[in-house]
Amino acid sequence: MIEITVNDRLGKKVRVKCNEDDTIGDLKKLIAAQTGTRWDKIVLKKWYTIYKDHISLEDYEIHDGMNLELYYQ
């Protein structure tokens, strides 16, 4: 289990617990559940990398305590 912090810098900052083998899509669903947005409107970014839904966190090498940028589309 890892914890990832997601911040949209507009007032929402969410810390999500998830597994490393979860996909970004799963993560988005979790975030959506916590922030109250629709998960498919969420964009996760780290700098200019937009994370894709079907790829798992460990494949993106997202580790415990990492911060991701949260955007909406």
Binding site: M1, E3, T5, R9, L10, G11, K12, K13, V14, R15, V16, K17, C18, N19, E20, D22, D26, K29, L30, A32, A33, Q34, T35, G36, T37
Partner: protein, 996 residues
């Protein structure tokens, strides 16, 4: 209250705010002290369950507004600077994200008013209640921090914060039970999370520090819970309706968060959420509480095993048999399926290929061993072969012995010999040419010779044997030699070369370097001998023979005796004349073939019977010209004979011919200009003969015909009846008319023909003879040609073609003989060649004969008189002239001799753009303007234009009239009105009235 979180600098502002804005402190204090309920999240096993239990039962209005303790998450940084406007904007941002929140905010505001009153009550209550010792300590802690805060300074407010914290807890507990659907519908964040970061900003420790505090906070929270509940319940009692309808939950006084809150969930919550989303539960390192009882652990283990058995993972904190089973990934499944299929396919293919490999291909050698190329195999094979050979030999010997025993040996030998005889062997090779020098074939060495490529169509090419390698050698040798020659270079003095081998001087021919080109490559060769082998001696002998022959040929005995002296004579002796004569052998043969000559000889008698003196030269003509057209010399010969009267011809076979010649001579003497006619006639006669010749060659039947002729002899020729039928007559008449027309035309132009009656007679006899013979065998081909030929006569005369044609008409188709000839010509045989085709075209009028001369004469007056080829070179002239111009020379390259005295009158005229002639001044101006590219100004040009106009008007003006021609008009008017005057008035006035 919530202000506690604010930094001191902002205090004044806040103070103001509080003044004009009704209690933001109260409502705005959104979860100022909201803490993470870490106790639950960190160790779900321990403290959580109890809380849950409590709260669930107590908290009835779960998803309702009270859940919201701090609806406004606030970024930490902004809280630091904490301008109110920033806060407001944040609010709006938040509400934009979560409209539900907005609603809450509105409610909050309403609430705020109330809570102002409540505050006081609460304060009182708190005081009354007193605080639990632990919470006291907690609040004490905070109090220590809060002195900086304006409001935080007061104890009651701190207590209230505490309260809020407590209120939040139960909500979270209920949350746990909520379904995923709830999570999605509810857009508000988990209240608990709000608390996590909403500690007072100024005091905020670093995260690690915060974590360190957590433990104590947990403890803090544990106790006041019961009290909290109580307060909440009280609040609910107070305004139960409002809660449901519009107002925020009682704990809505949730203070304005000083900093941004991080929303977070506990593991259990997360797991629940994940379960609702269909995700696997979180993997925890120590899912089992190490502190738990043994039984617990065992149970857990059992559950895990069960889960594993089911192919899923255990959901922690779930009821006994809840497991998560990952859904099948359909795409992965299909992908796997595809892969499996492909592998299967590949496998099959491999099998197939293996099977195919086992099959021997056409090109493969038959023996299996060949393919397995190992050397040991090969050795084995060789051994086997050897053994087999030995065995075969043995067997053969045994058989031989047996044969000997039975005495059949010689029979077998005979049979073998017979077989051998039939086979291709040595003797077949004898006489074959080998195109290499014998030196190339060393004895004891096998050389394989092949048949050389030769032209298939060349019948003379004999079979030649060559060896490819030797050929290559020769080629290189030759090339080397050439290189050597090239190195030597130009042999200026044509020095003799010395043969390297023999040391002799090489014999040189004139321009021997071209020998090869002219005669082709000279190759040494020898022939295979009689016995199919090469015998050197024989060869040498042969060479010697050759040399001998050559020497013999070169050897000529020169006599020293001088030729006899003779008296020079102007005339040829008879022997000499004899030299001019042709051997008569040929003639004899010809005579046998061609009977026409004989016929003509006989014709003489016939023509005399025809009441005409027998002077027909026909036989001569026939014999001389038509005998055998192949023999061109004959003509010459005969003429020669004609000239030499006194020379005696000793030819028995030519008696008839001589007679004919005599006759011809006489005829010749009679007429003056019959030479031409004669010649023409000769040719006329010759042509069909040629035709005959070819035809003879062509068909056997005709040959037979000629033989028949021979047998029949002269008599039969005229005995044959002339067949006339209707069709022939009709056609003849048709032709006759045609000819008459032509004839008349010819007469107009010229018919004082010098043709004597004799000629006509001769002609007649000739044609009749030809006609009769033609009827006998090939008249059909002969006659038409006679008639058709007139166009083709080639005349040396200066007469015009037309004239000649007419003459020909007259000659060949005189009134008398018109009947004799068949009118409709038979078509020439197209098979015989192009000439025949042309003839046909001519006769049928497929193409028109050009009358060049006629047209030439007609248009002669139009032709250029002084036309010269030089004119065609104008282009070149120009080019040359241009070049000359550059160097100051102009004009044609050749001087006009005939214009030597020519003095040109040069007048330069300048014309402006309008075509007006300019004077010198104007011309200069014009030129100048052109040169400078700049004309005079507008005014000046206009002025000039005007001037020009005037000038032109002046020029056009008549001297007797005004420019408007008034005089003329006046006259016209007077004419019209018939009065000598003209009334000048504006109105029309009748002249009659004027008179009055």
């Amino acid at each position: 209250m919530g202000r506690g979180s604010k930094r001191p600098e902002s205090e004044t502002e806040e103070g103001q705010w509080e003044d004009d804005d009704p209690p933001p402190a109260e409502g705005g204090g959104r979860s100022p002290l909201a803490r993470r309920p870490t106790s639950g999240s960190r160790s779900p096993g321990s403290s959580r369950p109890d809380n849950e239990g409590d709260v669930i039962s107590s908290d009835e209005d779960f998803p309702g507004p009270p859940a919201r303790s701090a609806p406004r998450p606030r970024p930490r940084r902004s809280s630091r600077k904490s301008s109110d406007s920033a806060e407001d904007s944040e609010d709006s941002a938040d509400s934009a994200h979560a409209p539900g929140w907005h609603r809450k905010r509105v409610k909050d505001k309403k609430k705020r008013k109330k809570s102002k009153k409540d505050k006081k009550k609460k304060k009182k209550r708190k005081h009354a209640h007193g605080e639990a010792p632990r919470s006291h300590s907690a609040s004490g802690q905070r109090r220590q921090r809060s002195p900086t805060d304006r409001e935080g300074g007061s104890t009651p407010e701190v207590a209230e914060r505490e309260e809020e914290i407590e209120t939040a807890v139960p909500v979270i507990a209920t949350r746990r039970r909520a379904t995923a659907a709830d999570f999605f519908q509810e857009e508000e964040p988990e209240p608990r999370r709000d608390r996590s970061r909403s500690r007072p900003a100024p005091r905020r420790p670093s995260r690690s520090r915060e974590r360190a505090h957590r433990g104590s906070r947990r403890e803090e929270r544990a106790q006041p819970r019961s009290r909290e509940e109580r307060t909440r319940e009280r609040e609910r009692e107070r305004e139960p309706r409002e809660l449901k309808a519009a107002s925020p939950p009682p704990k809505a006084p949730a203070p304005e968060g000083g900093s941004q809150k991080i929303l977070s969930m506990s593991v259990a919550e997360s797991n629940a959420l994940r379960a609702s989303l269909g995700l696997a539960p979180l993997k925890e390192k120590n899912a089992v509480d190490p502190n738990g009882t043994r039984e617990e652990r065992r149970e857990h283990k059992a559950r895990e095993e069960f889960a594993r058995a089911q192919g899923g993972t255990l959901i922690p904190n779930s009821t006994k048999h809840e497991i998560h089973k990952a859904p099948e990934n359909l795409s992965q499944k299909t992908h796997a399926e595809k892969l499996r299929e492909r592998i299967q396919e590949r496998k099959k293919k491999r099998e197939m290929e293996a099977r195919l490999l086992a099959i021997k291909k056409l090109g493969d050698s038959d023996s299996d061993e060949d393919r397995r190329g190992s050397s040991s195999n090969w050795v084995e094979r060789q051994k086997k072969i050897q053994a087999e050979k030995a065995a075969a030999l043995k067997r053969a010997r045994m058989l031989e012995e047996l044969e000997d025993d039975f005495g059949v040996g010689h029979l077998v030998q005979e049979a073998v010999a017979q077989d051998r005889a039939g086979a291709y062997g040595k003797k077949d090779l004898s006489g074959l040419k080998v195109e290499h020098s014998a030196e190339n074939f060393a004895s004891g060495r096998d050389v394989i010779l092949t048949l050389k490529d030769s032209d298939v169509l060349d019948a003379s090419a004999e079979d030649t044997l060559v060896n490819v390698n030797i050929m290559d050698d020769e080629r290189t040798k030759k090339k080397l030699e050439e290189v050597k020659k090239a190195k030597v270079g130009y042999n200026a003095y044509d020095q003799e070369e010395v043969d390297e081998l023999t040391g002799e001087l090489k014999r040189k021919n004139m321009l021997d370097k071209y020998d090869e080109e002219i005669e082709g490559e000279q190759r040494t060769s020898f022939k295979i001998g009689h016995e199919g082998d090469y015998n050197e001696e024989e060869q040498i002998e042969r060479q010697r023979q050759k040399i001998r022959e050559k020497l013999n040929a070169a050897k000529r005995l020169e006599s020293l005796a001088l030729p006899e002296l003779k008296v020079a004579s102007d005339y040829y002796t008879s022997e000499e004349t004899a030299q001019f004569k042709k051997p008569k052998k040929k003639r004899k043969v010809k005579k046998r073939i061609l009977r026409a000559d004989d016929l003509l000889a006989d014709l003489e008698a016939d023509s005399s019977a025809n009441k005409k003196p027998s002077k027909s030269p026909a036989p001569m003509d026939r014999s001389s010209k038509g005998a055998l057209p192949m023999d061109l010399d004959e003509d010459v010969e005969i003429k020669f004979e004609a000239d030499l009267d006194d020379v005696k011809l000793e030819d028995e076979g030519d008696m008839g011919l001589e007679a004919a010649l005599n006759r011809a001579r006489k005829l010749k003497q009679k007429r003056e200009n019959t030479d031409v006619a004669e010649q023409i006639l000769e040719e006329i006669k010759a042509e069909p003969k040629v035709k005959q010749e070819t035809e003879e060659d062509l068909t056997g039947s005709e040959l037979i015909g000629t033989f028949e002729e021979e047998e029949d002899g002269h008599q039969s020729q005229f005995g044959k009846p002339l067949i006339m039928n209707e069709t022939v007559e009709f056609c003849r008449n048709l032709g006759a008319r045609q000819f008459n027309d032509q004839f008349e035309r010819g007469q107009k132009i010229k018919q004082e023909s010098s043709v004597s009656k004799d000629l006509l007679e001769f002609e007649e006899s000739l044609t009749s003879a030809a006609g009769s013979s033609g009827i006998a065998d090939r008249s059909s081909t002969k006659e038409p040609h006679q008639r058709g030929q007139w166009e083709e006569v080639d005349n040396n005369d200066d007469d015009s073609d037309f004239e000649r044609d007419m003459k020909m008409d007259v000659d060949s188709h005189g009134e008398d003989d018109m009947n004799n000839a068949a009118i409709l010509e038979e078509e020439p045989d197209l098979q015989s060649g192009v000439a025949a085709a042309i003839q046909l075209a001519n006769s049928k009028g497929y193409w028109e004969k050009e009358e060049k001369k006629a047209t030439g004469s007609n248009l002669k007056h139009l032709m250029a008189k002084n036309y010269s080829i030089d004119d065609k070179m104008r282009m070149d002239d120009e080019r040359g002239g241009r070049r000359g111009d550059r160097y100051g020379g102009g004009g044609p390259s050749q001087p006009f001799q005939e214009k030597a005295n020519y003095v040109p009158n040069v007048q330069l005229e300048y014309i402006d753009d309008g075509g007006r002639l300019m004077n010198q001044k104007e011309a200069f101006r014009y030129l100048s303007h052109k040169f400078h590219g700049k004309g005079s100004g507008k005014m000046k040009t206009e002025k000039r234009m005007k001037k020009v106009m005037e000038q032109s008007l002046m020029m056009n003006m008549s001297s007797t009239d005004t420019p408007l021609q008034t005089v003329e008009k006046l006259k016209k008017k007077q004419k019209e009105s018939a009065t000598p005057y003209l009334v000048l008035s504006g109105n029309k006035i009748n002249p009659q009235d004027l008179k009055k």
